[in-house]
């Protein structure tokens, strides 16, 4: 029953341990996903053109030219002009600034709120969990569009309040997902090991649970951007969002719809911009989800 003890080498050779990181694997998986890469390319292009639109476009998005109303698409006005004679394409690109900011900032806000509350709720359980989850239930049960509209009406229609309204609507879903993950993580042995090592509970939440939630958060973020763009569009369309002459995509659709039969491009092209952007972000989100899913690895 004796066994050789001294003669064994433990572990792998140094060549095999390099370049096998989780992030590297995920990046490779993402790059192989064509839809996701196409979505990423579209978003990058969109961001660049919204940044550089003042230098690219010869047109002023706010200049009124009543003699050039509702022109069809031409070499000068690629997508025609609107009812004030403004270039539609230029206004879409300017509108993208607001729509993208509104896509990103409230998503970040609701992600932060949702993550903090979700981890606390899942980790502590009991009364904390009950309170947070019932609050989230209320948010989810209440018609979110109505809630957002009430916020906009009472606080006034400006960008900051749009952020606030959308964060208020969005955190509950994030909190639910994060809480569920925390519950699963809490059972893991490495959490028990950290506890046995004397690590305090706040530290366990911050240093052990949070890093494990991050991949989920990245995916949630990319999926909530298009949602927020849609929300902003809805609010602006209903007249409680961005106010003219400022342009956002929802507002452009709303204003353009009156001339749908004379100049269909005025309403349809910002609509298509919304569609393409939302699709692009969804593809990116799907790609990230597949790339970061730990169950797809070893």
């Amino acid at each position: 029953m004796s066994m050789p003890v001294e003669s064994v080498i433990v572990g792998s050779t140094p060549e095999t341990i390099e370049e096998a990181s989780f992030l590297g694997d995920s990046l490779r998986a993402f790059r192989r996903n064509r839809m996701a890469m196409a979505g990423l390319a579209f978003v990058v292009l969109l961001v660049l053109s919204t940044i550089f639109v003042p230098w690219i476009s010869p047109h002023d998005p706010y200049r009124v030219a009543l003699d050039e109303q509702l022109l069809p698409a031409s070499a000068t006005y690629w997508l025609g002009t609107d009812n004030f004679g403004r270039d539609v394409l230029t206004r879409i690109l300017y509108g993208a600034r607001i729509s993208l900011v509104v896509g990103i900032v409230p998503s970040l806000l609701s992600l932060m709120i949702g993550t903090v509350l979700g981890i606390l709720s899942g980790y502590f359980g009991g009364r904390t969990d009950f309170t947070v989850m019932r609050l989230a239930d209320m948010m989810i049960a209440f018609p979110s569009l109505l809630l957002a509209m009430v916020v906009m009406y009472t606080l006034g229609a400006n960008l900051l309040n749009i952020f606030l309204a959308l964060a208020l609507v969005g955190w509950a879903g994030v909190a639910r997902v994060v809480r569920a993950q925390t519950l699963a993580l809490k059972q893991k042995e490495f959490i028990e090991a950290a506890h046995a090592g004397g690590t305090s509970r706040p530290t366990i939440m911050l240093r052990h649970i949070f890093p494990n939630v991050v991949p989920t958060l990245i995916v949630l973020f990319s999926l909530s951007i298009p949602e927020a763009i849609m929300w902003e569009s809805s609010l602006s369309f209903l007249g409680v969002g961005v106010q003219p002459p400022e342009a956002s995509w929802g507002l452009l659709v709303a204003k353009g719809k009156e001339y749908l039969f004379q100049a269909p491009l005025v309403a349809i092209s910002p609509g298509i911009a919304i569609l393409l952007t939302v699709l692009a972000f969804n593809f990116i989100g799907d790609g990230l989800r597949d790339a970061l899913d730990p169950s797809m690895k070893d």
Partner: protein, 317 residues
């Protein structure tokens, strides 16, 4: 009971209960034992009611949760059974192994890294520098368990609890890890409580043995004494069920103890091993106490009780 001046851990009448839907389940009952400095004793850990749990003179049973937190990982630390799941998959290895240093000594990142590197060398991780930045999934099971042991010993605790530290490893790695633990015991001077099913490991590693059955210590002895004269029928059964090399195995099935471990919520009224015991007697309907066999050897069995009176404790429950 043996009195030792350099006892590091002394547990008296420890009981642990879990609150369940159908009443409380007592998973540990009347556990008393001592661990000497730098000794290795196989045994489990617990919580809740105990007369006292003295760690180097501090009574752990009366400590606040925060006071207890300061002990954990610092003076007592633990090595878990599963090195695969005991490390956080998304954090670099040195960061995790050094966490007790940050928690208990407030060291900075530089100092922690240096200390972890030292520990990696001590526990025999090849190319320790390259491994510092690794993630757990990049290491083999043996390396991970070495890292876990490094984590357990990084604050030079007085007591290390090892919960079947080698069951998840193959036999060659197993013997290396065990050798390492013995070696570190001598160098760091840490006492080890080893929780294990493997009698081979006990014979190889331990100084004193507490045999547990259904939440009780059924036999307590010096390791040589235990293997020389196993006195509780359960211990004898365990020893008998080890396959022996060279025995005619074609003719006989491997011996095993008949029956199953009782449900802790529905324990037999008398001796907990009684229903499975080949030597059961009428008196076994009464719960036995610990009977002394000399030289600190005790067994919870009527076979060794000189008179029923010495075993009378707890008969009412």
């Amino acid at each position: 009971m043996i009195s030792r001046t350099d006892t590091i851990l002394s547990v008296r009448e420890l009981r642990t209960e879990f609150r369940g839907g159908r009443g409380n389940v007592r998973v540990l009952d009347d556990i008393s034992f001592d661990v000497g400095r730098g000794r290795i004793v196989p045994r489990p850990q617990g919580q809740v009611s105990a007369k006292s749990i003295l760690l180097d003179g501090t009574d752990l049973a009366t400590l606040s949760p925060d006071g207890m937190r300061r002990i954990r990982g610092n003076e007592i630390s633990m090595v878990f059974q599963e090195p695969m799941t005991s490390l956080n998959p998304v954090r670099r290895i040195w960061d995790q192994v050094g966490e007790p240093l940050a928690v208990h000594h407030g060291l900075g990142r530089r100092a922690i890294r240096d200390r972890v590197l030292e520990m990696f060398e001590l526990v025999g991780i090849p190319e320790p520098k390259a491994r510092l930045e690794a993630y757990p999934h990049e290491l083999s099971g043996g390396l991970r368990q070495r890292a876990m042991i490094a984590m357990g010993l990084i604050c030079e605790p007085k007591l290390l609890i090892a919960d079947e530290p080698t069951t998840a490893l193959d036999v060659t790695t197993q013997s290396q890890i065990l050798k390492l633990m013995l070696d570190l015991r001598d160098r760091v001077g840490t006492a080890i409580i080893m929780i294990t099913h493997d009698l081979g490991i006990i014979a190889e590693m331990c100084d004193e043995v507490n045999v547990m059955y259904a939440g009780q210590i059924v036999e307590q002895a010096d390791v040589f004494d235990l293997f020389e004269r196993p006195s509780h029928p359960y211990t004898r059964g365990l020893l008998a069920s080890i396959p022996k090399a060279g025995a005619a195995r074609a003719t006989k099935r491997m011996p095993s103890i008949p029956g199953m471990v009782p449900n802790l919520a529905k324990l037999p009224p008398g001796c907990r091993f009684g229903p499975r015991c080949g030597d059961a007697m009428p008196v076994c309907e009464q719960p036995p106490g610990l009977a002394g066999l000399g030289r600190g050897h005790v067994a919870r069995c009527w076979l060794h009780a000189s008179s029923p009176a010495t075993c009378a404790e707890g008969a009412a429950s």
